[in-house]
């Protein structure tokens, strides 16, 4: 399982095409053709379903190859390859522009963050929290404030456009959130002027110096460096709580879960907050689940590869937490988060609170194409233990609860509140 952060960033970037399309040199044309063939062949040979759901892949090739040969610009060539992949009607298949891929891969550029965690609620970009010690926290940016403009550019029109585009997609919330977060991001130490509407509706402009993202930089294979953090505490004296932004850094994450579980051995309940968690390494879903399941032989779901099926078997840890477990998700919980939440829900080991997740659960691989573009493709399908296809459907919470602007301004967290009420009411 690979995180979708970079992909989504790129998807948003691609939605706003850059100007200055270069006409193709013969060498570039050759590389594009080679890339086209590589993408087509990879899907033919590596897609988990050799029949591609009945799609006539050869016909797709024969239809699009002439278009690629006629492509006059790199953007046109890329669009043809994207068209080819779109015929699969599956996420985790995409072409990433070389220049963007390169920038992400090399890191160091655009990593600066304001520390604002944002969600778009009813078309409005709202601050849901500020990261500890972040520029936003230091400037007293407050949950519930609405972001109007970033560096003078109004958000509303863009959000409407993206919202329309993803109206019927489970990716809706994720894409909107990403559009705003990307605008807030930039080079470390660069400045960004963010216009907010505060609790009273007054406009206030805050000049923020972007800082290093929260957490520790982690790298894994060809993926760009990512920042991983994990926090745990007791939300009530008898309720444990853990939140982490990615399923990465296995040793750190598992140690944190282990410590949280051990500190909470006598707790009445436990909350795992996966809101905004984009996923990461699929196997970590099983690893984390092992701290909350005491019965061997259970699994979260099955991953179907061309060469076989991998069962997401959970190996119980020596002293797992056995009390009520609440799992929080929202539209920005993706991939491994969904595998974990969906599987635990199916096993009836966890009750899920929040909003429907992003429905983007397929594991994928990034490769460089001969033309230097990036190529992402999924190598497997995933079905949760209860037989649910999470892709395009997401995890449906047992109790739906999302914050309104008023909730945020008044310091309420409806999903967490519902989870705590459930734990309180649970007689164990």
């Amino acid at each position: 399982m690979l995180p979708r952060v970079a992909v989504l960033a790129l998807a948003v970037v691609c939605a706003f095409p850059a100007g200055g399309a270069d006409r193709l040199a013969p060498e570039q044309q050759r590389l594009n053709l080679e890339s086209f063939e590589h993408v087509w062949t990879t899907v033919r040979d590596k897609h988990w379903d050799p029949k591609l759901g009945g799609l006539d892949w050869q016909a797709v090739h024969d239809e699009l190859r002439p278009q690629l040969e006629r492509a006059a610009t790199r953007e046109q060539a890329r669009a043809v390859m994207e068209d080819m992949l779109s015929r699969l009607k599956q996420t985790h298949f995409g072409i990433v522009p070389a220049e963007v891929y390169q920038e992400i891969e090399s890191g160091g550029k655009g990593e600066g963050r304001t520390g604002i965690e944002v969600r778009v609620v009813e078309g409005r970009a709202l601050v849901v929290s500020t990261e500890p010690d972040s520029p936003a926290a230091k400037s007293a940016v407050t949950p519930g404030w609405e972001i109007d403009r970033v560096d003078g550019r109004p958000l509303a029109a863009s959000l409407r456009k993206i919202g329309r585009n993803f109206r019927d997609s489970t990716l809706h919330d994720l894409m909107l959130e990403h559009a705003v977060s990307e605008r807030l991001a930039g080079d470390e130490r660069s400045r960004v002027k963010v216009s907010f509407r505060d609790a009273r509706g007054r406009s206030t402009v805050v000049d923020l110096e972007r800082a290093r993202p929260r957490g520790a930089a982690v790298t894994f294979g060809n993926l760009p460096p990512m920042y991983f953090w994990v926090e745990s505490r007791k939300v009530r004296p008898d309720v444990g709580y853990i939140r982490f932004n990615l399923f990465f850094a296995p040793e750190t994450l598992n140690k944190a879960v282990e410590n949280a579980v051990r500190d909470c051995a006598a707790c009445r309940g436990f909350v795992i907050d996966l809101r905004g968690n984009r996923g990461g390494m699929g196997a970590l879903a099983m690893g984390v689940a092992g701290w909350f399941l005491d019965q061997p032989g259970l699994r979260l779901g099955d991953m179907f590869l061309r060469s076989g099926t991998i069962k997401f078997a959970v190996f119980p840890r020596p002293a797992p937490f056995r009390g009520p477990l609440a799992i929080l998700v929202d539209g920005c919980s993706a991939s491994t988060s969904e595998i974990f939440a969906g599987g635990m829900q199916d096993l009836k080991r966890g009750r899920v609170f929040g909003m429907r997740s992003a429905g983007a659960a397929l594991p994928s691989v990034f490769e460089r194409l001969p033309n230097r573009d990036g190529f992402q493709y999924a190598i497997a399908n995933y079905v949760s233990e209860g037989g649910k296809q999470l892709e395009g459907a997401g995890v449906i919470p047992d109790e739906t609860a999302g914050p309104t602007r008023r909730d945020l301004l008044e310091g309420r967290d409806p999903a967490l509140d519902r989870a705590l009420a459930w734990i309180e009411g649970n007689k164990n």
Binding site: T219, F220, P250, E251, G290, R317
Partner: protein, 254 residues
């Protein structure tokens, strides 16, 4: 030496399978006996006497999953009669360990934690742990030559080896050099069954033995290349080298 289960589950295919088996038997009549091929293979890699001089080995190298840009290091320590410890360090994941101490087969990985392996997994660990592989007769209840195939341009005998425990392995041994060129099997565990193909190459002399320096493991759509660059024999190993880690001991007690 690995495993490959041969399943014949479809009754409808029975006639075809039997016909194929008949053809195979006829072909097998003309092929050397598996015992002879395996003995020649041991001779080709140094001979029984060279193997018998060894009491332990430490092999180290690197691994790469090129498609994903994942790199790591590998260390395999084996000691007679049947102990093994494999340690893999992968950037971004951490330390993965697998072992067999003569009784307990286990695995610890940073993703899923510690677990004791059993069934086919344990059988595979046990087979790998058997130090004196020149005594292959101790490991297999049945070996047979089932045909001939080309592997990477090399004409090979195709053997099916059925271990005392666990599923069969198919092995391809170069007719000319008697060196193992490929092994296929189905790896079975709690996470399911995965077809595994291991290509073995770059045989070079290390001490008195001719050993493979390159292995390519293809499984589950992923290709892992392993290159061994150091072979040490009869090393002064720490006494507790193969002791069960504490996390495994805790599971054994459970």
């Amino acid at each position: 030496m690995k495993r490959l289960p041969i399943r014949r589950t479809l009754a409808a295919c029975a006639v075809v399978v039997l016909a194929a088996a008949g053809a195979r038997l006829r072909a097998a009549d003309e092929l050397p006996k598996a015992e002879t091929i395996l003995d020649k293979s041991i001779e080709a890699t140094g001979g029984k006497a060279a193997f018998e001089k060894l009491h332990n080995t430490v092999i180290t190298g690197s691994m790469e999953l090129a498609a994903m840009g994942i790199k790591g290091t590998v260390s395999i320590t084996k000691a007679e009669p049947d102990k093994i410890l494999t340690e893999i360090e992968i950037a971004g994941i951490g330390s993965i360990k697998e072992g067999y101490d003569g009784k307990v087969a286990w695995e610890i990985n940073p993703m899923q934690g510690a677990r004791i392996t059993d069934g086919d997994e344990k059988a595979a660990a046990k087979l790998q742990a058997h130090f004196h592989e020149e005594n292959w007769r101790d490991d297999y209840k049945k070996v047979e030559t089932v045909g001939a195939e080309t592997v990477d341009g090399k004409d090979c005998y195709k053997l099916v080896l059925t271990p005392n425990e666990g599923s069969p392995i198919t092995q391809f041994i170069d007719k000319k050099t008697s060196l193992v060129a490929k092994t296929t099997m189905t790896a079975t565990g709690p996470m399911g069954e995965v077809a595994v193909e291991i290509l073995i190459s770059d045989y070079r002399k290390e001490g008195d033995l001719l050993v493979a320096h390159k292995i390519q493991r293809n499984a589950g759509g992923q290709e892992i290349a392993i290159t061994f660059d150091s072979f040490k024999y009869n090393v002064d190993l720490a006494k507790d080298k193969f002791d069960l880690p504490d996390d495994i001991k805790a599971l054994v007690k459970k």
